[in-house]
Symmetry: C2
Subunit: 270 residues, 2 copies
C-alpha cells in the first residue's frame, strides 16, 4: 500500500487522460469559465480531456430500479441489484457510458459550486449512480479475500481532483464558523475518492466566488491552470490506507497513532 | 441567542407538527419500515405528520432556470434568481408546496440511507431547491442589518432531526476509518439545519443496517419511537451561535474558546 500511496500516477506517461465532470447550470458562470480555461490549458499542454457536463447532458441523478434492468428485484436492494446488473452488463446505458469514460481516464476532475457544504444534487447523483457496488467499491482482492478500499478499490490507479467554487471568502479555516473546508469535504475526498482507491490531489478552492473581480478571476484561473498541469507530480493528501496496518479489526485507528486525538484529522499521516 | 439555543420548542404545545422527508427508492426497505413505524408512533401519540416521500412524489432534484420562472436572468445566477422568484411568488409550484409544509411544521425529520457519507441525490436536491436565498438563509435582521444564520435564520423556531441508516456497523467513531459520523454529518447538521436557524436534535443513527436481523430491527424501531416522542425535550447539539460572541469578524472562533483545538468539534460548546 505504501507503494501505491507514494506512487505518482501519470509520471510514466507524458499525457494525462482527464475525465472532467462539471456540475453547474450556467456555462457562463465563474465555474463555467474556469472549466473552459482549465480544459483549454490541459489540451494546450497535450493532454486529452473528455467531459461529462452534467447539466448539458441532462444527467438524471436519481437512483431507481430502472438503472438495473432485469437485475432489480421486486423489492429493490440498491447495492445488490447494482452489482448484479454490473455483472450482467445490464446497467442503464447512461451509467455504462460513464464507466467507459472512467475506464479510459487516469485523472478525474470533479468541478462544482459548493451548495450546502456539498456537491450539487446532479453531481451527487453521478456518484450515487455511477460508483456502484462491485465496480468502484465492494471489490474483493482474490488473493486475500479482503475488500479493497481506502487507498485501493475499483478506481485504483487514478488520481482525483476536486475544483470547488465557494461563495464565502472567510470562516472556512480550522476554526472558522463554516467548518474547516478540509474537513467538510471529507465525504468526497476521503469517503469517495480515497474509498474507491483513487489518489486524492489537494483540492483547488476558489473562495469568495460571489464577489470575485476580474483580477481575482485572473488569479484563480492561473492557479487552476498551474495545479492542473502539475497534477502528475502535485501534492496528494496523505490519507492512511486501510491495509497499511494503521487500523485495528474494528476499523479504529491504533492508539499509538495520532495519540489522544480524535476527529477527521487523524486519518492524515504525519 | 442563548435564549434561543436553550429553548425547547414544542413544550408550549402538546402537539408536534412534523414534516417527515423520506429519501429511499424502496418503501419495503429497512428505511421504509422505520418510516412507517415512526410516523405511526407520532400519530398514535396525537402528533400531526405531513410527509414528503421524495421517491413517491417523483421529486425533481435538479436546480434549473425553470425553478425561477421569469425571475431567472438570461445568464443564470442561482442565488439571486431564486430570491427574486421568492419575492415575486414565482418559484416553481413544487418548491412552493414544500415551503407551505415548512411554514406549517415545527419539526422537520429528514430520513435517508447514508450514500457516499451524505444524503441521496434526491434529498440533496430537496435542500438545493427548497432552501433558497431569502427564505431559509440570507435573511437579514431589519434591526441590526446582520444576516441571520447559525442558530437563527429563515427556519428558526423549528427543530430538525436526521434519521440515518448506515450500512457499516463499525469504524464510525471518533477514530474510525469511515470518519467520525458526528463530523461527517456536519454539512447537514451544522451547515444546513443550524445554518438556517433550526435547533438540531441529536441524530438517530441505525448502524449495521445491511446486516440487521429481526431483533436488531425491533430495537432500532423502539429507539426511533422513543427519540421521536421525546423530541420536544430531547437532546440538541450545543452548536455555537453566530451572534453569541464566540466568533470574530472574520468568522473564526476566538482564541480563548476551545484553546489550541481545531477541526469541526470546536463548534460545539463545552
Amino acid at each position: 500500500m505504501e507503494d501505491l500511496m507514494d506512487a505518482t500516477p501519470g509520471t510514466t506517461t507524458d499525457t494525462m487522460r482527464v475525465l472532467w465532470v462539471l456540475a453547474h447550470p450556467e456555462p457562463r458562470s465563474l465555474t463555467g469559465h474556469l472549466r473552459d480555461d482549465g480544459v483549454q490549458a490541459l489540451r494546450d499542454a497535450g493532454h486529452e480531456v473528455v467531459q461529462s457536463d452534467l447539466y448539458a447532458m441532462g444527467w438524471d441523478p436519481v437512483v431507481t430500479a430502472a438503472d438495473f434492468g432485469d437485475a432489480a428485484d421486486d423489492r429493490l436492494d440498491v447495492a445488490g441489484a447494482s452489482e448484479r446488473a454490473l455483472r450482467r452488463g445490464a446497467l442503464a446505458p447512461d451509467i455504462r457510458a460513464e464507466h467507459d469514460k472512467l475506464a479510459w481516464a487516469d485523472t478525474v476532475v470533479l468541478q462544482f459550486p459548493l451548495w450546502w457544504l456539498g456537491v450539487p444534487a446532479i453531481l451527487k447523483g453521478w456518484l450515487d449512480r455511477v460508483l456502484v457496488q462491485g465496480y468502484a467499491y465492494g471489490v474483493r482482492d482474490p488473493a486475500t479475500g479482503r475488500t479493497r478500499r481506502y487507498g485501493d478499490g475499483g478506481l485504483a490507479g487514478r488520481r482525483a481532483l476536486a475544483v470547488v467554487t465557494v461563495g464565502a471568502g472567510t470562516g472556512l479555516g480550522p476554526r472558522g464558523l463554516h467548518g474547516d473546508l478540509a474537513e467538510t469535504l471529507f465525504p468526497l475526498l476521503h469517503g469517495t475518492f480515497w474509498y474507491t482507491g483513487m489518489q486524492v490531489a489537494e483540492p483547488v478552492l476558489v473562495l469568495g466566488a460571489n464577489r470575485l473581480d476580474e483580477a481575482g478571476y485572473t488569479a484563480a484561473a492561473a492557479d487552476l491552470r498551474g495545479r492542473l498541469l502539475a497534477l502528475p507530480d502535485g501534492p496528494v493528501l496523505p490519507y492512511r490506507s486501510q491495509d497499511g496496518g494503521d487500523y485495528d479489526d474494528r476499523g479504529d485507528l491504533h492508539d499509538a497513532l495520532a495519540p489522544g486525538r480524535r476527529g477527521l484529522g487523524v486519518h492524515l499521516r504525519g
